[in-house]
């Protein structure tokens, strides 16, 4: 029996690093401290571990098929890698998408492949916090590490996010309930404000719940800013379904905080006005700093969706949705993001890695993917497998392979290897595809 302490949970953007994992015969039998999501990932879905192995479908061998309606044939890694390389090398507009459930070391290999292919490379932020990046281009990012918030925050705002469901340990470790140096009272010393379009489980725990009419967040943020800047007079009696009195009360709470933090989720990034909601919320944070200290942090979803954005930014200058088709990195979401090019039917071949595009893209995009040569690299059988031609199973990052991941606040941590892998790693597969692409191109 092997006990690994201080292990990282490779599920959500909280990247909790206090998991104790018990391993027996290369099987994980226990994951102490992990939440439901983390346990499911570490125990249930681990290829060799857990009790649910029969019901959980991982991919055992590389598989290919010519006709997407026929059955897969199990093949060797060499065959699958060769076929993947041929598909990608032939493509005039290849898309390499995914990367959320993989380490930064994998991202580096992916970016090299994208450069080599002249591909578009995009990650799952595209359908998650991509707009947060766009807002950062406009207004910046006044943020802090989560410990800073835990130690100091006396006012915490959750806007369009629902940590109770999506980041179960967030409130305990970093926000609402966390105790720290200046916040030894924990929850009792804090005011929690939740703004959302429905009374989520998170909203039910708030001191103040502000119900916004769906799609009106932008108007509400502007109203808060107007009140904060001393222009309450121009704000109508009700904005976005919220009474002005409540907005005034919220502003009072915000500006009298000693340290305030805004956490936001897809309620802002995906609603009407998209990234302009974040843009405006960043400005609200900026404005609040004239009164007190305030920071704003996105509730990033997957454990290393942030990492891809970091690596892509330092390697290319751009955070995701980078188009290498002319050799130079070009970036313009709306034009170069995965769903832009899929929706326009421009892509002629794709590789989906460490994400499930078919489950998380709109039908129109999935329809396109279903009709083009599609390579999937993933440990798990997913919706994407159903429409892929070439499927290459890999070792599970953060469980079978170590590597780097970035928490939602940009703190990088090293993922542990908990058990021995039975499959090639994503890094190895990408390296071999890149090598094969070079050979096919006579380089």
């Amino acid at each position: 029996m092997n006990v690994i302490t201080d292990a990282l949970c490779p599920f959500c953007g909280c990247l909790c690093d206090d998991i104790t994992v018990v391993v027996e015969d290369n099987k994980i039998i226990e994951a102490k401290h992990a939440c439901m999501l983390g346990s499911a990932k570490i125990l249930g879905h681990c290829r060799l571990g857990g009790n649910n192995i029969e019901t959980h479908h991982t991919i055992k061998e590389p598989m290919t098929r010519v006709d997407k309606n026929s059955n897969f044939k199990e093949v060797s890694y060499d065959e699958a890698i060769n076929e993947a390389a041929e598909i990608l090398a032939k493509s005039k507009r290849p898309l390499l998408y995914g990367w959320a459930s993989a380490s930064c070391e994998v991202h580096k290999k992916g970016l090299l492949l994208a450069e080599e292919l002249g591909a578009i490379i995009d990650n799952t932020a595209s359908v998650c916090h991509g707009p947060t990046g766009l807002a950062t281009h406009e207004k910046g990012s006044p943020s802090a590490t989560l410990g800073q918030i835990k130690n100091r925050a006396d006012v915490i705002v959750f806007w369009g996010c629902n940590p109770v469901q999506a980041h179960p340990r967030h409130m305990g470790r970093y926000s609402s309930f966390a105790r720290g140096f200046f916040s030894e009272k924990g929850r009792k010393g804090r005011k929690i404000i939740v703004l959302d379009v429905r009374k989520t489980d998170t909203a039910k725990m708030a001191d103040e719940y502000v119900e916004i009419q769906q799609g009106s967040d932008y108007l509400v943020i502007s109203a808060l800013r107007a009140i904060l800047s001393g222009h309450a007079d121009v704000v109508p009696a009700s904005v976005g379904g919220v009474l002005k009195d409540q907005l005034v009360k919220v502003v009072e709470t915000l500006k009298t905080a000693k340290f305030g933090a805004i956490f936001f989720g897809m309620g802002l990034t995906q609603s009407k006005s998209r990234y302009k909601n974040i843009d405006n919320a960043v400005s609200l944070t900026f404005d609040l700093n004239s009164f007190t200290k305030f920071v704003i942090t996105p509730m990033r979803g997957h454990y290393n969706v942030t990492g891809f954005n970091q690596v892509c930014t330092w390697e290319t200058g751009f955070t995701t949705a980078v188009d290498f088709s002319r050799g130079l990195p070009y970036y313009n979401p709306g034009e170069t993001a995965a769903n832009d090019v899929l929706n326009r039917n421009e892509v002629d071949a794709a590789m989906v890695i460490a994400a499930d595009a078919a489950a998380h893209f709109p039908a129109n995009s999935v329809r396109r993917l279903a009709k083009m040569p599609l390579v999937q690299i993933d440990p798990h059988w997913s919706a994407t497998t159903e429409i892929a031609n070439v499927v290459i199973p890999t070792a599970i990052c953060g469980i079978e392979v170590e590597g780097t991941a970035y928490r939602m606040d940009g703190v990088s941590l090293r993922l542990r290897k908990m058990i021995e892998p039975t499959h090639l790693t994503d890094e190895e597969v990408l390296e071999r595809i890149t090598q094969r692409v070079k050979e096919l191109r006579g380089e």
Binding site: C104, S141, A144, Q148, N151, K293, E315, G317, Y330, G410
Partner: protein, 570 residues
């Protein structure tokens, strides 16, 4: 592998060579006495030969650099270059991508660059980027000035614990030296406030900036670290701050250096040699600072020269960055790090007709020209705060040619005449001065003079050859030639390998990362670690076991040993 560089006009101030024809012999990455007849030969043909450039203060990697990139796609869309068989893509001007960072330094003949600030908790990120910067050797200075353990030990006057913490912090961050930014201010920014003088008391910690600086200098010398404390002064960015800067320098007098170097390096003076009381009467006080330096031997500085055009300011000085963003109506990045420090990123455009910018432009030059000893003022732009490092050749040309300065002054806001001394300064630096400010000086300041910054036997075989024949050029007049030659080295040799020829990258070896392993008595570390463990248990948001930078992030380490107890030679 052997290489012989023949016929160079060599400037090697450390070894007293100033333009003499000399041959440089290289074997296995080092400069040697001589090589065999089988060595490959580069005929410098009378051209300028210097050691590879060393930059002791630049922001090239880590969380705030990457935030700068993320905030500025408009910057990343310039300077683009496709990949070649040898090189990856280039992007960016003020915040280049990792590849361009290494290539462009190498193309200017630089071979060693130090990142000027990393928080321990974010050091892993710094090293991830450093690992991807090609060619150059590098290292990173670690922030200590607002760290809770630092302030606790300063308050307790427990230098043993402080030294143990610094040593451990350098190990944890794989850092090279002690960086102090707006000491105490980082903590106060945690609640949106700042310190305003060296003697303000930081609430809850009951220490002053002056105490922090002095204690860290003491710890630094106890540990016999190669580099001194590297200080970004309090009140940076505020008119009248030269007084704080001078007072900070004065603190260094209390300390004896443990090594042959300064005890305090005060960085990017362009931002803190400011007179006046507000933006209206803002003026240069670089002359006062230079005067101080001319009469003191324990402090060094660097210019942080301003370059007109686009820049991206980035610093651990969180409060100054919020003030900047407000003043400029600019986008604002802020990055507080729990228990450690703050940071901020704000884009700026320096314009010739803005009086403040014109005066700031003058400050860096005045400092360099009025300070007699070039070892005391390193050439930097505090990349990318004063401007991108690719402008070093512009700075060199300005320092070497009064004519160029006078022509530039004609294009600037008239304030440059009234509120700076630069129009009347006639001094022109020579190649020897430049070699000191860009090679020998930074190497000495960093404590790396054994292998860096010179061409003597035993030094790293880092060499730059520039397409200038020193005996046939008048830099005062032909400054344009000087600038273009320094922009694009005829050869850059890194560790004995030709990495640049005629300004083009020819090879991309992986450089090394310097970090300092300072020993302290084990029991001292153990006592200190009790406090650290308590802080992780209660206050950090990660576990201690996941805090330290793992070996996987420093694949080509160059460990420099230091320590409070004698180091055993194995």
């Amino acid at each position: 592998m052997e290489l012989l560089i023949k016929n160079g006009a060599v400037y090697d101030p450390v070894n007293g060579i100033a333009g003499d024809r000399a041959d440089i012999s290289i074997k296995d990455g080092k400069i040697v006495e001589k090589v065999s007849s089988g060595a490959s030969v580069i005929d410098a043909g009378g051209r300028l030969v210097m050691a590879g450039g060393v930059d002791a203060h630049s922001h090239i990697a880590g969380a705030k650099v990457n935030l700068g990139r993320l905030m500025r796609p408009e910057d990343s869309r310039i300077g683009l270059k496709s990949r070649t068989k040898i090189t990856r893509v280039y992007s960016g001007y003020t915040v280049p991508n990792v590849f361009a960072m290494g290539y462009r330094y190498a193309q200017m003949g630089y071979t060693t660059v130090f990142e000027a600030a990393q928080a321990i908790m974010k050091a892993r990120h710094t090293h991830e980027e450093l690992e991807e910067i090609p060619i150059i050797d590098k290292g990173a200075l670690t922030l200590f000035g607002s760290n809770w353990p630092t302030m606790d030990y300063v308050r307790e006057k427990n230098l043993d614990k402080l030294a143990a913490y610094v040593a451990w912090g350098l190990l944890a961050s794989r850092g090279f030296g002690v960086k102090v930014v707006n000491p105490g201010g980082g903590e106060m920014w945690g609640f949106g406030k700042n310190v305003t003088s060296l003697d303000d008391v930081v609430p809850n910690f009951d220490v002053t900036p002056a105490q922090i600086i002095v204690s860290l200098m003491k710890a630094n010398e106890m540990l016999r670290l190669p580099h001194s404390v590297h200080l970004h002064c309090n009140n940076l960015g505020k008119p009248g701050n030269y007084k704080t800067t001078l007072a900070s320098m004065e603190l260094a007098k209390q300390i004896k250096p443990a090594k042959d170097r300064q005890v305090l390096h005060v960085t990017h003076l362009t931002f803190n040699a400011w007179g006046g009381t507000n933006w209206g009467d803002f003026e240069s006080k670089a002359d006062e600072i230079a005067n101080y330096l001319n009469n003191s031997d324990n402090v060094t500085t660097d210019m942080g020269q301003l370059i007109f055009g686009s820049a991206t300011t980035m610093t651990a000085d969180g409060p100054v960055q919020y003030a900047n963003a407000k003043l400029l109506h600019a986008k604002w990045g802020n990055g507080d790090v729990e228990l450690e420090d703050a940071s901020g990123v704000v884009p700026i455009f320096y314009a010739k007709q803005i009086s403040i910018h014109a005066i700031m432009w003058a400050i860096g030059l005045e400092l360099a020209l009025l300070t007699k000893d070039p070892y005391k003022v390193l050439l930097t732009t505090d990349h990318p705060n004063g401007g991108p490092f690719v402008n070093y050749p512009e700075v060199i040309a300005l320092l070497m040619s009064n004519k160029k300065r006078q022509e530039e002054i004609k294009t600037l806001h008239e304030a440059v005449h009234k509120r700076t001394k630069i129009p009347g300064i006639e001094r022109e630096l020579d190649f020897n001065d430049i070699a000191i400010m860009t090679r020998a000086g930074p190497a000495k300041v960093l404590g790396l003079l054994d292998t860096k910054g010179h061409l003597g036997v035993g030094a790293d075989a880092d060499v730059a050859i520039y397409d200038i024949k020193p005996d046939q050029i008048d830099p005062s007049v032909e400054y344009a030639k000087i600038k273009s030659a320094f922009q694009s080295a005829a050869y850059t040799i890194k560790g004995g390998e030709v990495v640049v020829k005629d300004g083009q990258i020819t090879a991309t070896p992986m450089g090394r990362t310097f970090w300092v392993d300072a020993t302290v008595p084990e029991e001292q570390t153990e006592i200190m670690m009790k406090d650290i463990r308590m802080k992780f248990k209660n206050y950090y948001s990660i576990n201690l076991a996941n805090y330290m930078v793992q070996d996987a992030y420093v694949t080509h380490p160059k460990v420099v040993k230091a320590g409070a107890i004698p180091v055993k030679v194995s």
